[in-house]
Symmetry: C2
Subunit: 149 residues, 2 copies
Amino acid sequence: MDKKEIAFKILSENGLKYTEPRKILIEFLSEDENKHLTPEEIYDKLNPDYPNLGIATVYRNLQNFENLGIVQRLNLGDGVSRFELAELVEDVHQHHHLVCINCDKLIEVKGDLLGELEEKIENLYDFKIIDHDLKFYGYCGECEEKKDR
Amino acid sequence: MDKKEIAFKILSENGLKYTEPRKILIEFLSEDENKHLTPEEIYDKLNPDYPNLGIATVYRNLQNFENLGIVQRLNLGDGVSRFELAELVEDVHQHHHLVCINCDKLIEVKGDLLGELEEKIENLYDFKIIDHDLKFYGYCGECEEKKDR
DNA sequence: TTCCTTGCAAACTTTTTGCAGCCTT
DNA sequence: AAGGCTGCAAAAAGTTTGCAAGGAA
């Protein structure tokens, strides 16, 4: 069972209907991993093939998907939400992002790097950690090179 | 020299004029640490005392201050920017935030917890890290307690 | 048949911008 | 005096909502 199928299963388990727009969106997101597109970008890319898909439907379903944990919303601080299909398999491995402050490239860091840190913080601050959000800002290899010249 | 004075020094060093709105804003932010207010909240709080301060001026100057490193913009994922006076002293110590997903309380974690992790990532991903953004989401002590009952 | 879902358009919210006049330098 | 800065209002950008028609269960 791949991600797409898991996603549809989650939808039906939660009483959400299997509609054309949802099919299109999940299909698109699963083909399009690591792109971290905004709702508008998703809408624009789908529009040629599905001209009567409305942008409100894109927003509404991304919101639905987020509520169900099917997608993850990224906030890179540029005033827009970006979405990616969430890890839906058993061994959920967290990942983090490197954002290039010169060319805006987005690089993924695989692996949960914060396990022991979270334990420390939970004890120190009396806080039960459920999730985290970690982003590094800096220069990617290419941009760093250009800077030196 | 306290934060406020350092902030004004940075302004003048960068050719920004010493105007009434900037004075009001920096004064307010330095009195109001750890509040993490939105531009609108800042505007509303200042409005009774300074009724002709415009909200555009608040936005413009928060942006200016951010560019100069005087304030830090927080993005908690609720669709608004929040601001706090940055650490302006020599030994800049990073801090991170714990966000309670039940009551929205914001707790600060002092200390830069990511030093060695950053080194690893820089080598592994050929990426020069300049800054990072780390937030933990979970339940604060109070809300965790309430959940059990 | 029921009622969830959609597309469209309008509304809302947050942030940015244009402009004429004012104020710091 | 010069040019940056302000307040106001309008515009822009991103997102949400109301509603009637359509489609899945």
